[in-house]
């Protein structure tokens, strides 16, 4: 049992991290009052940009440096692409779900279109992703050291740091207060002198940057090549956001659950103890639990009240 847990733990964490950072991006956007269903597409944009930068740079510089530059580029590209969604939903009062869907479709099509012009097949392989490393000293701690600090990706620590910072920004800074006010009652925020448009723009761009980073991390830790999709992880991140009730620690729990459940489903065929459970049950388990959780939380939903509502200055 212990060896089993120790074996699947690194995989579960690796799967959780891209979900977590993307979900945190969604949290910023929705807390400001903009529903961002385009997380999936923004991850694809990040994965594509990361792949193309790393593909170009790895032959001419240290592979590790290239990976980090690629991740930075992925975050930037996600942020820039998210401006499309911000413009549509903040300036033009577009239906945010439709705009997000357009983002998803555009990202999926445009990136493969461009990738084909680079490699022909539309897939962009990277020579080498990120390497797993033990955290010095901490990995010597019994039990915890083995689970959390052995053979970890540096990106895991980066994302956890961003999560902590995100929590601080949302609950302890004036921008965070404004952000939450815009998501709950934009008119009140406006009359208190908050520039609703600016706050929402920053939040949506941040959500793009985080999703882009998520797509990039997926590329350098799990995928190893750009294939034109992120297999629905962006949508899963959206579900985790609701599952986690729009709270940073909540989404940490929700994404960790998805990471563990998916990993168990993926490795079940090689583990005798899990072999007895039909594969389909393990595969649909996370989605069924999400549905149940959605029902359970429906009475006490913490959803930002103004999420999805376009903000018009004159309207009262």
């Amino acid at each position: 049992m212990w060896t089993l847990i120790a074996q699947i733990f690194p995989y579960a964490i690796a799967f959780t991290i891209p979900l977590l950072i993307t979900s945190l991006g969604g949290l910023f956007s929705e807390r400001s009052g903009v529903v961002n269903i385009g997380l999936e597409g923004l991850m694809v944009v990040g994965s594509f940009t990361g792949a193309i930068v790393i593909y170009t740079l790895q032959p001419i510089m240290s592979p590790d440096l290239a990976v980090w530059i690629g991740l930075l580029a992925a975050a930037l590209a996600g942020g820039v692409f998210a401006i499309l969604h911000a413009f549509a939903s903040i300036n033009l009062n577009a239906n945010q779900v439709i705009s997000g869907t357009a983002i998803n479709m555009m990202a999926g099509a445009l990136t493969v279109f461009l990738a084909r012009n680079v490699t022909g097949s539309g897939n962009i392989p990277i020579v080498r992703g990120l390497l797993r490393r033990d955290v010095p000293i901490l990995s010597e701690i019994p039990v915890i050291g083995r689970l959390f600090f052995t053979s970890t990706y540096a990106t895991t620590w980066l994302v956890l740091a961003i999560l902590l910072l995100g929590w601080y920004v949302i609950y302890k800074t004036s921008y965070g207060l404004r952000l939450r006010a815009c998501g709950e009652h934009p008119h009140a925020a406006d009359s208190a002198g908050v520039n609703v448009y600016k706050v929402r723009y920053i939040a949506v761009i941040l959500s793009g940057a985080f999703s882009g980073l998520g797509g990039g991390i997926l590329l350098v830790t799990i995928a190893g090549e750009f294939t034109g999709s992120v297999a629905g992880l962006g949508f899963l991140a959206l579900a985790a956001l609701i599952f986690g009730q729009w709270k940073p620690l909540g989404i940490l729990g929700a994404t960790a659950f998805f990471g563990l459940a998916s990993t168990i489903a993926n490795v079940s065929s090689v583990i005798p103890m899990l072999k007895v459970i039909p594969g389909v049950i393990l595969k649909v388990f996370p989605y069924i639990v999400t549905l149940i959780a959605l029902v359970a939380f429906s009475k006490s939903s913490q959803a930002p009240k103004a999420a999805g509502e376009p903000y018009e200055k004159g309207k009262r």
Partner: protein
């Protein structure tokens, strides 16, 4: 004179057409940026979908499931619901149709009736879950439908190899018999061996049925009332919850029938591990068609043309086939930001009046 003509054309049509034009211009720019000739690209794209009777048939066949999925999304939209679960409903409906086609032995008309009904039921079942959760627990239908998409994906992924395994490959079902296929000889002959099938007629009938339900029945009136203003509808004595569930079930049934057309008409078997993109494309079809049945028919045929012509264009030029999807996505972005187009039109009108 000009003014009166301008007034007669509905604003939605102008906006949709402008979105298409802008999308095509964006597509041309992408071709240009990647070093290709957009004129050659577009002419091959159109030729690929229309230059022979067979290709014309394939274009219509590609459009057939899109008519159904477009109607599915449009129907839910009319009730104020966003049915992003169409891919799952297509898949599960198509799975039910395939299951009937592979296990029932009956005369062709009866068998087709059974398999298409099974698809409609399967789709309705898949749509009813988000509908029920929305009505009873106010769970947002977008997230619950996305979960249902994945559940459909995995259920079909395991059910096909377990019960309907193909003779060579683990990843697809057995081929259905001609007797169970929506393809009919006279249609295949008429279109020179194209894979066009009865799905086209099912699509056209569905357009009329949906238009009739929405515009001429009490049910349609109630559904639209719920879509316009849920609280006002409730106050007027309309059961909002019942209508939400019903709308999602009908929407799911339409998508499910689309699945029957895909897997027992256009194709002859069901491959696992693929999310049917026609479900997502239905969103685009519906939006471009301004959520009206006749608009859905027109935009489905337009998208059918783009999809069936892209292969030929790719063969004749260096332009990747994904340009078609890029154009469609751009059109949807412009349709979503139609306010921009409307503002532009208003400005134009004001300028004219000023002169």
């Amino acid at each position: 004179m000009k003014q009166s003509i301008m007034k007669k054309i509905p604003k939605e049509l102008v906006v949709s057409l402008l979105a298409v034009v802008l999308g095509l211009i964006a597509g041309a720019l992408f071709m240009l940026f990647t070093g290709n000739n957009p004129f050659a690209g577009y002419s091959y794209l159109i030729k690929g979908g229309t230059m022979s009777i067979e290709r014309l048939g394939n274009t219509l066949a590609t459009a057939s499931p899109l008519i159904l999925t477009g109607l599915s999304i449009a129907f839910a939209f009319k009730t104020g619901l966003f049915n992003i679960g169409a891919p799952g409903q297509v898949l599960f409906g198509g799975f039910c149709a395939t299951a009937v086609a592979l296990s029932v032995n009956a005369p062709k008309p009866l068998l087709l009736l059974l398999s298409v009904s099974a698809a409609a039921l399967g789709g309705a079942l898949w749509g009813s879950v988000p509908g029920f959760l929305k009505a009873k627990f106010n769970v947002h239908e977008v997230v619950s439908s996305i979960m249902m998409n994945w559940i459909a994906y995995w259920v079909v992924y395991y059910a096909i190899p377990a019960y309907f395994k193909g003779s060579f490959l683990e990843t697809e079902s057995r081929k259905i018999a001609h007797q169970a296929s929506l393809r009919v000889d006279w249609l295949t002959k008429l279109f020179d061996g194209s894979y066009i099938n009865l799905g086209l007629f099912i699509g056209i009938i569905a357009v009329f049925v949906v238009a009739f339900i929405l515009n001429r029945t009490v049910l349609g009136y109630e559904l639209k009332s719920v879509g316009f203003n849920r609280h006002a509808a409730e106050y007027a004595g309309i059961s909002v919850n019942k209508n939400i569930i019903l709308a999602m079930m009908i929407s799911g049934a339409l998508a499910g029938i689309g699945g029957a057309i895909i897997y027992t008409g256009n194709a002859a078997n069901l491959q696992i591990g693929i999310v049917p993109t026609q479900g997502f494309d239905g969103i685009a079809v519906s939006l471009l068609g301004a959520n009206t049945p006749i608009g859905v028919l027109a935009s489905a045929i337009f998208f059918g043309l783009l999809y069936s012509g892209k292969g030929f264009m790719n063969a004749m030029t260096n332009i990747p086939p994904e340009i078609a999807d890029t154009i469609i996505a751009t059109i949807i972005y412009f349709a979503a930001t139609s306010v921009l187009i409307e503002r532009g039109l208003d400005k134009l009108k004001r300028k004219r009046r000023g002169n």
